[in-house]
Amino acid sequence: MITKNAIKPFLILSIIVLVLGIFAGCSKTSDVETASNLNTDEATKMTREELVFVNFRDIRDLNPHLYAGEMYAQEMLYETLVTISKDGYEPCLAESWKISKDGKVYTFNIRKNVYFSDGEICDAHAIKANFDAIIENKERHTWLEMMNLLVSVEATDENTLMITLSSPYYPMLTELGVTRPFAMVSPKAMINGSTKDGVQEYIGTGSYILKEFKTDEYAIFEKNPLYWGEEPAIDKITVKVIPDNQTRILALENGEIDLIYGKNMIDADTINKYVNSEEIEIALSKPTSTRQLLMNSKSPVLGDINVRKAIQHATDKKMISDGIFYGLEEPADFLFSKTVPYCDVAIKPYEYNFQEAVKLLEESGWVVGNDAIREKNGQKLAFDILYNSDSVTEKIISEYIQSQYSKLGMSVTIKGEEEQSYRDNMKAGNFDMVFNISWGMPYDPQSSLSAMQRPVYGDYAAQQGLEDKTHLDDMISKIMVSTSEEERQKLYNEVLSILHEEAIYLPLTYECNKAVFTKDLNNVVFTQSQYEVPFAMMHFKK
């Protein structure tokens, strides 16, 4: 066999070769890299005209008349008749509009000289063609009540579009302002005048055009030279696809991307990390939606209104907000934040008050048994909390309130289920308490309330045990057809007060939209539509 003395030189030699080999490999690549680093440095010295954005998935099918594409990209390419703004509505493709006295006929004055990016004119006829294509696939869009009320859409001349409804419907303009499905595609891009099976190209009137894309890798948007409105400051938006959260953050820190934007793209931990950062800035929007727990009024235990109220008083929302969200999501007192239209209603929040909770339970006859769990007529004060197991946050909140409620003598079991079955259970009413998030702007409050009337989400099932359920549904229907602002507000007050009094919604925190971005980028703002990323408003520091 080989002797030890013979081994040594070989051993040393082979280690040297191995190490050199590794270094040689590294240095080769670093040469290439230095060259390309230089390039990017040079690029940054000039005022930057390209923004690199990131998303967790591909842009997918951007046909705005279906629901399968990424909304931020659709918002870049397409426009609607009106835009939803902070103070109501702003003109977009329609320069102005008139509503008939009975609230049934909407006459839109269409903006002149607007062209699709393929050169086609976007006049009343083109918009009518879009409505025809949308109506052809009506079943898909009946979640918008106006589709059910639609009688006719006519282009009376090149600049006038008339929409007639069978009854007045106040959220009409909001629904028309929703990108999907009411964004306008070039009639030339439709397939024989239809869009329900796809479009030939993604052509709209928006401030950007889709220049190039590679599935699952990137998409490049450039300024639309034919855009009628104010020219965006940034010429080119590149969207990279990076599914992993950690990778996205490393890419941002590394300067490979400039902006991460969206409710679910960044967690509270990450935001918190950048609070005092010198290179990276953060931005948070006003509340967009409400994170809440829904209590089932049909459940044997939660059917008792005093138990529901006791739970409202026993939940420390401040603690959830500070401890789990680092204060980034404010504690929520009501089903909808007061900033939501029609929701600034004079109702008193349920304060965090443990004694009050105990008092309510005892009033109702729930007494502590031998096992420290309250009971009444042999029924234990025990129930389940159902959460979506994909959501770490919901799990943490469940565990926290489980321990809180146990101090009250409640036995809470927490149950995580994968998203589909979580939703199935919600819809079927198989839950005592379940996590829920309101639809958010611009769908709140009208679409959220409207959905309570139909067995599509947990709300309908949870409200079945309420005595005034039919009354509630009636009032919601009345809100939608009301033509007087005053009457509408009155009805909203009543509905929201009843829902608050019945205590079936346990609001936890107000969710907000988040962005983290490089310090070079200016004017990263949020609009009324929670899915829009307003690239056209952003610019780089000079």
């Binding site: 279906l66 079943e139 898909r140 009946t142 699952d216 990137y218 990778t247 590394n254 589909q420």
Partner: protein
């Protein structure tokens, strides 16, 4: 010999049928209504009864269970796997063929790294058994085997991209992009093969033919390389062969971390989006891959090793 090969091929065909059935049954055992899933993944805000009916018909979900299996099987043979739930303008087969080349490229480059690193390292570990080198390698092997690819990937990314600024963190497009994901995948296999080669060589060193060669006065390095290593590699052949399907199917997590646009990333996205037809094809593909490679390397080993031949 020929009888054996025919027998193996027949068994494999049966196995593939079983794979198709299991794959269909599992996906269909999910208690949710696929039509509703389709609408949900296409982000229809409120799912109305009318919409569910329309989709059920469009996807042919109203047929009885077994009929649906047979139809699916027939379509599979024509390479028609339907359309993606999440993106109805793309076919499942199209998505598969779009992403497969990238995954094969990644698997191949990982395999090359595995072979280049593990054979010499395993060899020297065996020759210098219990030396400092062997011990250091053993510790490293132990550490990398127990670290999940996800962690290795992020650590590499932090070190190489963020600290040293040598390579881009993620994406694809050039040679620079493939280095980190390949190393990450290779890491797990390297440690396995180093151990395998080392142990095989140590076993072989005790064999009579080594003693005989030494007695004949052959150069010790010659014995180590041309006799011991050669014989050890032969028995590693099956393991390396079987690692090819493992490499292809094992790229999932790494592709996701490095945003590599391959089959694994597609599959993870499909799992998150409940895009059942794509998951179904992926399971089927991986199943067939394992059956095929098993068959090929069984036959090859049969041809290469006279001892096994005489056994059967």
């Amino acid at each position: 010999m020929i009888v054996y090969i025919i027998k193996r091929i027949l068994v494999s065909i049966l196995l593939i049928f079983a794979v198709t059935f299991i794959c269909f049954v599992f996906i269909n055992m999910i208690p949710s209504d696929p039509a509703e899933v389709v609408l949900r993944v296409r982000q229809t805000p409120i799912i109305t009864e009318e919409a569910i009916k329309e989709v059920t018909q469009a996807l042919g979900l109203d047929d009885p269970y077994f009929i649906r299996y047979l139809k699916w099987l027939r379509n599979c043979l024509r390479l028609d796997f339907g359309v993606s739930y999440i993106n109805p303008s793309r076919t499942v087969w199209g998505e598969f063929t779009r992403t497969l080349p990238d995954t094969i490229l990644l698997a191949l480059s990982s395999l090359i790294i595995v072979i280049i690193v593990s054979i010499p390292t395993g060899f020297f570990c065996a020759i210098f058994k219990d030396s400092l080198f062997d011990r250091v390698v053993r510790i490293l092997v132990f550490a990398t085997t127990s670290m999940p690819a996800y962690v290795v990937g992020l650590l590499l990314m932090w070190l190489i991209s963020y600290r040293l600024k040598l390579l881009p963190t993620s994406g694809s497009g050039g040679f620079r992009h493939i280095i980190m994901p390949s190393i990450t995948i290779a890491m797990t296999y390297i440690s396995t093969y180093i151990r395998l080669i080392r142990n095989n060589m140590l076993e072989n060193m005790k064999e009579d033919y080594v003693v005989y060669a030494k007695v004949r006065g052959l150069n010790p390095w010659r014995i180590s390389i041309f006799h011991i290593l050669k014989n050890s590699l032969q028995s590693c052949m099956v393991a390396i062969g079987m690692s090819i399907p493992q490499l292809i199917s094992g790229t999932m997590v790494v592709e996701n971390v490095f945003a590599w646009p391959g089959l694994g990333k597609l599959c993870i996205a499909s799992i998150f989006n409940r895009d059942y037809p794509i998951i179904q094809l992926y399971i089927l593909f991986v199943g067939i891959l394992f059956v095929l490679f098993n068959l090929i390397f069984d036959i090859l080993q049969h041809l290469a090793d006279p001892r096994i031949r005489s056994l059967s």
